[in-house]
Symmetry: C2
Subunit: 252 residues, 2 copies
């Protein structure tokens, strides 16, 4: 165990860079905050490189950390506050090696996000896809980064339960079609088909779009069918995380 006292310690400064997407994208690691999430990582055999604990965290989890033979640091409250992205730090932060899936098998049920920007929405949708037994999630251009702390918090560990790819949806749609999967877009437009009228199939890709603008027009043109959720009241639209949940559970 090593100790870090100063909030301006060089190691803390280096680690804090991982809060920014541009640094994170160049790094092979990311930060995961809170015991529950770190525990999920350990259970999933993710490579946990180092763990940072404050005094309270040390009391609670030293035994756990040693059982997993993890390298760990004791941080002063000040240093922990500097490293944490939360108003109230959770006592444990881990440096975890990214594990991006590289071999894609696009069969089964997939959820694709076209420019879904809010990290809470992206995380909640991944969690719902996990709950609904989906086979994977694909984050298209403009979508929040799966290694951002807000996405990680909202996913509640679901990134360890199903593969999450990032890339260009336009390039991946033909892959789904090759597998014989139906590709469903979503559109707030009654010219589309109500989701209640879709026949269930074991293999499909469902695409959700941006919070304000919906899906990119170009991608809407590439789908087999575009779906909508009927609005019976006076609301203009549904939250994208809620819409994704209604559609995923209706299609499985």
């Amino acid at each position: 165990m090593k100790e870090i006292q100063a909030a301006k310690n060089n190691k803390i400064k280096e680690l804090k860079k991982l809060h920014q997407r541009k640094y994170r994208s160049q790094s092979e690691n990311y930060l995961l905050e809170g015991f529950h999430l770190v525990e999920e990582a350990a259970k999933a055999n993710a490579k946990i490189k180092e763990v940072y604990l404050d005094e309270r965290g040390l009391q609670l989890w030293q035994e756990w950390v040693e059982r997993y033979q993890l390298d760990y640091y004791l941080l002063s409250d000040e240093a922990m506050k500097a490293l944490s992205e939360l108003p109230t730090p959770q006592g444990m932060i881990a440096l975890v090696q990214k594990s991006d899936p590289n071999l894609a098998d696009f069969s089964g049920k997939w959820l694709l996000l076209d420019n879904v920007q809010d990290p809470g929405n992206v995380g909640t949708i991944v969690r719902t896809a996990d709950a609904a037994g989906f086979d994977g999630v694909f984050l298209g251009k403009g979508s929040a980064d799966k290694y951002s702390s807000k996405v990680l918090r909202s996913m509640q560990g679901s990134q360890f339960h199903l593969p999450i790819f990032s890339g260009d949806i336009k390039e991946t749609i033909p892959e789904f079609k090759k597998m014989g999967s139906n590709v469903y877009g979503t559109k707030l437009d009654q010219a589309a088909l109500s989701y209640t009228q879709v026949e269930k199939t074991p293999s499909f890709a469902l695409i959700l779009g941006n919070e304000g603008q919906g899906m990119t027009e170009e991608i809407l043109q590439m789908t087999d069918q575009n779906l909508y959720i009927p609005i019976y009241g006076a609301a203009e639209s549904l939250n994208v995380g809620v819409a994704a949940g209604i559609l995923m559970y209706a299609l499985i």
Copy 2:
């Protein structure tokens, strides 16, 4: 039009008290931020008592404000920043008179929230209930306050489309039963009935519970039937807003 320059102006100080639930509960008014929400209030004939604009807001909406014959103030950027609850103020804040529904007709489709604490969840659920054509929402003990700015933002004006009551769910369940409505609880427990097996009825009350703990045990005992959403993957649970959306759209 009057002008307010100083962030520490007495009027601003008084208005800012409405950010706190305890002051708000004693007041007959609440604050609504952003043109879109204020416009919804005006369309719904809510009583808008005063409007506060910054320089940019004045340019954009002075004509609108005068058309509705609203009293308005021009705030310095500093004063607007002091009054706003957002990191980036939206240029318009309105003081609106509360309108709590008092005559309850509990027929039709109702959503009840038992100790749902997160304001974003409460707001999103009300918006979904609006979209799904529900007849009303009932906020039970421990639930976020419908006049808090985060709830108001997440509702996106749905509070003007359906009645929102606050009170004790235990006391209101018998009212629903008297109307012949089924009262459905929700429980993360396969001893409950899968929501896919419920027959649709025109009149029912659906209760969602707290983010971490679920529904109060006492209230679970009072329902006609408790429902669950099957988890097919490895996620432990669903976000309560997502669960509410899946259930509401499945039951209507």
